[in-house]
């Protein structure tokens, strides 16, 4: 069974997924960061493939991507770093990246690499749902890899239903009309949107991401979805002084218990 499905079968709430940029802060840090995240209690890790032009990202992830590319990170190198990852990692792993680097590798080769390295899912923000359905869905199914699609507050109910039907593993609920980046609080208009989605009883579980940064925002998100995704706030922590282990331990504790 795909590890994402197993996670959602076994754990009903408070699912914490953490986004990292591959090759950041150091070129070879990624496997160690994933291990530490698992050890301190993250339920899932999204490994970001750095891209020169990350359209949907705010300053923190832009900067980490630029550092990672400067360090020499490439998609090929990332797969070679992930070759042994399943020796000691049992939580679900998701690759997140923009379409262009994936297309340059070739979708089929990319998915073969995903399945050889034990990835469970993929998120490609600029792959439109209709293109996915028409051109790539069969490839994903063949390799047993989930594609999680995004929904936003401005989408109509029809579109949300359609995206949820296409989405594998979980649905990525973008918390607000925004690029990625930590926000201090969750507004009332966002809560209304979360409630609207809850009532729709969609066929896949949802995780809320974008702007989740703290114990407060994480707990609020978890009231309305199965869990939440933290990106920029964690990347910011990784960029600070101190040992990776300690920073990661302290960060996860601060999210879980405040």
């Amino acid at each position: 069974m795909n590890r994402i499905d197993r996670l959602f079968n076994e754990k009903k709430g408070e699912i914490l997924s953490v986004y990292i940029t591959a090759g950041y802060p150091g070129l070879n840090d990624t496997p160690a960061i994933v291990r530490a995240l698992q050890e301190y209690g993250a339920d899932m890790v999204e490994i970001g493939i750095p891209f020169s032009d990350p359209l949907a990202d705010g300053p923190v992830i832009q900067q980490s991507s630029q550092v990672a590319l400067g360090n020499g990170m490439t998609l090929k190198l990332l797969f070679s770093q992930l070759a042994e990852i399943r020796n000691n990692i049992h939580i679900p792993l998701v690759l997140m990246g923009y379409l262009n680097p994936v297309l340059q590798m070739g979708m089929e080769t990319f998915l073969e690499n995903c399945s050889e390295t034990g990835m469970d899912g993929v998120i490609i923000p600029d792959l439109p749902p209709d293109v996915y359905e028409a051109e790539y869905r069969d490839h994903f199914k063949k390799h047993g890899i989930h594609l999680s699609l995004l929904i936003t507050p401005h989408a109509t109910a029809d579109r949300i239903n359609r995206i949820a039907r296409l989405s594998g593993g979980f649905l990525y609920m973008v918390a607000d009309a925004s690029t990625t980046g930590a926000k201090a609080s969750i507004g009332l208009h966002q809560i209304e949107y979360f409630k609207r989605i809850e009532k729709m009883n969609l066929p896949v579980p949802g995780l809320i991401g974008f702007g989740i940064s703290s114990h407060e925002t994480f707990t609020t998100a978890c009231k309305h979805a199965r869990g939440a995704i933290i990106g920029s706030a964690f990347i910011k922590t990784l960029g600070e002084e101190g040992s990776l282990e300690e920073k990661i331990g302290a960060f996860i504790r601060s999210i879980r218990t405040g």
């Binding site: 032009d53 590319l69 262009n100 680097p101 600029d126 936003t152 995206i163 973008v174 009309a177 690029t179």
Partner: protein
């Protein structure tokens, strides 16, 4: 062959709307409305009137006698340089500001490289009393100080972009990010025939007034409504798309697209996108672009800031791939010499971008009875510092 955009927003293999879901409502609203609005009588009246009374259209088609003599053929210059603000860019910004108003938008954003599109956008925003924010790479803000001041005088807010390489590509990323964060009240006036569908088609339609006029003016001057050669420079490709539009299906017209070779096509410092590029996704469009083997987008180089874009509009990728257009690349040096020749022979100082189109005249063999139209996309005022520096006046 078909050169109109199809239902899905494609020209052959190129185009589409590869956008994050956060942009879907914005793009969907445009896609659902742009044709309805721009084909309405009211819009046509407003657009036609502003092009005439504000931009100064129709722009003349001028028979360049001394250049014709030099090249032993008949050369005509389509004088887009005589438009208000000095280039074809205003055709598009007038169209888009009217569209924005019809859509009920209150806030306008734009990207700019050299500042020409930024100035053209700031201009129409002043004209319509709209709030205008222009994203510009921090490096370009330094390199193009006079245009930055113009935008400010026109009331626009200029936001320097410090991400990436701090140039046009990054300014475009930042404008798109702004639009993601302001999905309801904001219209994004993109500056060329690039970006997600429907932008390439919409901007092409606004620029198509260029070829509409060429047809009429050529018939008046030569008794024939089409040229043998139609020459234009291509950055993103908007002046070329406008000059080609009404001739796309007329195979008698040879379309000559000129890209910036920078220091040379194989020098590594170049913007020869369709010659060197491969298929990929940039700013929401599947097109030819400069990228490395890992799919990272490369920074282009040209002395001319308006040709310094790593991609090309999807229509041009299709024109190049299908062989409908022939693509040439012209170096910085060749463009500078062509600018000098145009100044000395015709008394017209062209924009450095336009000078690339003029330089290709040296690379083609014309018959003495051929009619050659060069789209003179802009004037050289903005490039005087470069000309003074490089040509040593």
């Amino acid at each position: 062959m078909n050169f109109e955009v199809d239902q899905r927003g494609f020209y052959g293999d190129f185009g589409g709307a590869y956008i994050p879901e956060m942009l879907y409502p914005n793009i969907r609203e445009l896609e659902d409305n742009y044709l309805k609005i721009i084909e309405s009588d009211q819009f046509r009246d407003e657009f036609g009137q502003l092009l005439r009374d504000y931009a100064g259209r129709p722009t003349p088609l001028f028979r360049a006698g001394r250049l014709s003599e030099h090249y032993g053929t008949h050369i005509y210059l389509k004088r887009e340089d005589l438009n208000h603000t000095g280039a074809h860019k205003i055709n598009n910004t007038i169209g888009q500001i009217l569209l924005a108003r019809h859509l009920g938008k209150e806030r306008i954003i734009a990207e700019t490289g050299a500042g020409q599109h930024g100035v053209a956008t700031a201009t129409v925003c002043a004209l319509s009393g709209m709030h205008c924010i222009v994203y510009m790479g921090a490096l370009d803000v330094e390199r193009q100080a006079p245009n930055v001041k113009k935008m400010k005088m026109l009331g626009a807010e200029v936001v320097p972009v410090h991400s990436g390489n701090k140039t046009l590509k990054d300014a475009t990323n930042e404008a798109i990010r702004d639009w993601i964060n302001h999905p309801v009240d904001t219209h994004y006036i993109i500056g060329s025939v690039v970006g997600p569908h429907p932008y390439p088609d919409m901007v092409t339609r606004f620029q198509s007034v260029i070829s509409k006029e060429i047809k009429v003016q050529l018939a008046e001057k030569t008794g024939r409504h089409y040229p043998d050669y139609l020459v234009a420079c291509v950055g993103g490709g908007s002046n070329a798309a406008g000059a080609y539009y009404h001739f796309l299906n007329d195979e008698r017209v040879k379309l000559i697209s000129v890209e910036a070779a920078g220091m040379g096509v194989n020098s590594g410092l170049t913007a020869a996108t369709s010659l060197l590029g491969s298929t990929g996704i940039i700013h929401g469009s599947k097109t030819l672009l400069l990228q490395d083997g890992d799919g990272q987008i490369k920074e282009p180089y040209s002395l001319s800031a308006g040709l310094d874009y790593p991609g090309v509009g999807p229509l041009h990728a299709w024109l190049a791939q299908s062989g409908r257009a022939t693509v040439f690349a012209v170096t910085d040096e060749e463009a500078l010499q062509a600018a000098l020749m145009c100044a000395r022979k015709e008394g017209i100082i062209p924009a450095l971008e336009t000078a690339h189109a003029l330089a290709v005249l040296d690379k083609l063999k014309f018959g003495q009875d051929d009619t050659v139209v060069v789209n003179l996309s802009g004037r050289g005022d903005k490039d005087m510092e470069t000309y003074i520096d490089k040509l040593g006046f």
